[in-house]
Amino acid sequence: MKSVLGDRRAILALLGPALLVYSLIILIPIFWSLGYTFFSGSIVSGFTPSGFDNFITFFKDPTAWTAIAFTVKYAVVLTVGQVVIGYAFALMYHFYLKRASAIIRTLVFFPVVLPTVAVALLFQQFFQSAPTTGPINGFLNSLGIASVDWFGHADSAFWVIVAMDIWRSMGFYAVLLYAGIVDIPDDIVESSRLDGASGWKLLRHIILPLSLPVLLSSVIFSINGTLKVFDSVLALTNGGPGSGTTPLTLYMYQTSFTYGDYGYGSTIALMLTILCLLVTIFIFRAQRRDLTKA
């Protein structure tokens, strides 16, 4: 029995194709690009070794630091937003809608399938103040508040990006978290109800601790996606106004392909990867500790 489940040829046949394509297309190019971090120059004019110059530049580059600040702020806000709102939906599906929730779940999930270009155009129109007044500003006007130039300031543009991405992804997280809640054994919920726990108390002491594992997995999944936000920002604000909403990925792409500095671009990408790694390890640790407590 052990020998069958440990058959080397079978393991190779099953694991081989995935590992091979993954290594050739993802791993090798990554190490290849890491090599470029020690070079300066461009694809066109050729590369020359530059030691640790790219790393020194990175730590002195104010644009890079603004990009890191934006990326982290975006990732934290969006992760909290996606998971909290997704969780609220999940609770609603399970405790209020019950049987009827299927159609709502489907509808809320739906924006995940829309092309980014289309969603970005929609939100641009929704929040625009000129040449025509969009619905949001129209609503503000009706309350007697002057139109806001949402895309004219980095702060307000940030919140439009957040709103757009939460709208797009909340359905996905709702379904993911719904699964965790559905899995909570009913007798536990019922018995604590009989013990007098209800509403907020029930949620805080019974439901929340029991769905903690799936919540934390969602957080890891979400933060790794949001730290690498690219196309929604590209399509909605193109990093503007100025470089006010430029995340690390967009800065990396611009540096490599618009500014033609591939070595420095790779350095930025490496820093982003390290950031993702640190955050993931941090969350994994926090999760372990919480799990042992619970």
């Binding site: 290849w32 690009s33 066109v44 895309f151 100025g242 033609g260």
Partner: protein, 436 residues
């Protein structure tokens, strides 16, 4: 659909070999191969163009069937397109592999073109044309030289645009405004229009260039036509008072509300639409906009109500109002590795015939000599054509000599300058810093 295409240069190296060579090693020496098609050139006359410009491929196709049919027989034209948004990236990647096609859209970023020239990735067209170089208009050649340095041409000027301010004659007349000849008169005019409840200028703040063009032109009028070359050569800085003055002038114009609300949200369509429906009195734009003017569906104010005025002079400035800001649009270049005698024959044929065909076919004014001007051109097109022919000294635009990073920084921050969120000094500082 799925075809295992042969590499253009036929240099097929197994992936295994590349991977085996080790990543770090390759990082250092992945460029620099010199295998050249040489001789007659590539098998086909491959054109890879940005899909945003259909004019060039149309004209080339027309030529291949008529004037250049002999050249086409020796090296058949094959047309391909790539999205306009990714052109710079695509051309860099291809150039890195020495795989630029026979003829392709050039990069819109002059400093990238300079890299192509220095790395000998593209053909020296002046050499290729020999005596036929006279088919390139002197004004176009002067722009090319200013852009890429030296006296030779590395691109074919498939467009020649002049820029300036287009104004609505009716709005000007209704408000008793005469065409402003100085910047101060322009400011006064725009204040008057605003007081009358008319938006003075519409500008595409999303793309930024219609705003930074104003800065550039102000600098040329105030400091002379060589002012930005001096910045490139390190003789002056954008943060010098004389340059900051220009950005401040545009900022104060914008702060007065001349560009209307939320200028950063206006895109190119929004700008055209505002002007062509009478929503704004003026628009800074290049002569390529004539195709919009000539379309009655877009133009509701009527062709007869639109006129061109040169960018106003700056009182006491060193520049002349007769210097015309001009550009060659996004031209085409020739890949060195696909080049050969057949390609040379094609290029000579293009230089001889492009001017006439482009004008007759799409009303496009190019940087090539026109032998016979068609008689049925719309009036504004004739005006522009005459102005182009008469242009002797052309000035560039604000970002022409900047690095790609400076260009991006300048254009993405333009709207912030125009709404007063950035001061002229802060704006110039950012652009200057991006150059380091």
């Amino acid at each position: 659909m799925i075809t295992t295409a042969k590499g253009r240069l036929g240099r097929i190296v197994p992936a295994v070999a590349i991977i085996g060579a080790g990543a770090l090693l390759l990082a250092g020496c992945s460029s620099g191969s010199t295998s050249s098609a040489g001789g007659k050139g590539s098998e086909k006359f491959d054109y890879l163009g940005a899909d945003t410009n259909t004019e060039i491929s149309t004209v080339l196709t027309l030529m291949s069937k008529d004037q250049c049919s002999a050249e086409n027989a020796a090296q058949p034209l094959s047309v391909g397109t790539t999205p306009g948004t990714g052109v710079d990236q695509k051309m860099q990647l291809l150039a890195g592999q020495n795989a630029l096609p026979a003829i392709s859209t050039a990069s819109g970023t002059p400093s990238l073109m300079t890299q192509f020239v220095e790395a000998k990735k593209i053909v020296n067209i002046t050499e290729a044309l020999g005596d036929d170089s006279s088919n390139i208009l002197p004004a176009a050649q002067s722009i090319i030289s200013k852009l890429y340095g030296g006296t030779d041409s590395y691109v074919l000027p498939t467009e020649f645009n002049i820029e300036g301010i287009w104004y609505n004659k009716k709005i000007f007349a209704d408000n008793g405004i005469t065409v402003p000849e100085t910047w101060d008169a322009l400011v006064a005019a725009s204040e008057k229009l605003e007081a009358a409840g008319v938006q003075p200028i519409t500008a595409d703040g999303k793309d930024g260039w219609p705003i930074t063009r104003l800065i550039g032109n102000y600098i040329f009028r105030d400091q002379g036509a060589d002012a930005l070359q001096a910045v490139k050569d390190g003789k002056a800085k954008l943060t010098d008072a004389a340059y900051v003055k220009a950005a401040d002038a545009v900022a104060s114009l914008g702060q007065g509300g001349a560009f209307g609300p939320s200028v950063g949200s206006i895109d190119y369509n929004g700008m055209e639409n505002a002007f062509l429906t009478g929503g704004a009195a003026m628009m800074y734009n290049g002569s390529w906009t004539l195709s919009n003017f000539n379309d009655p569906a877009q133009n509701t104010i009527g062709l007869e109500n639109i006129a061109y005025m040169p960018f106003p002079a700056v009182t006491g400035g060193k520049g002349s109002i007769d210097d015309t800001p001009a550009n060659i649009g996004i031209p085409v270049m020739l890949g060195q590795n696909a080049y050969g005698t057949n390609t040379q024959a094609w290029v000579k044929c293009i230089a001889k015939n492009y001017g006439d065909l482009a004008l007759a076919n799409g009303g496009v004014v190019s940087g090539f000599k026109v032998n016979t001007v068609p008689t049925d051109l719309p009036e504004l097109t004739q005006v522009v054509q005459a102005k182009v022919a008469a242009t002797t000294t052309a000035t560039l635009w604000f970002e022409a000599l900047f690095s790609p990073k400076q260009t991006t920084v300048s254009q993405t921050n333009a709207a912030l300058l125009a709404t007063g969120a950035l001061t002229g000094e802060a704006f110039m500082q950012m652009v200057q810093d991006a150059g380091q």
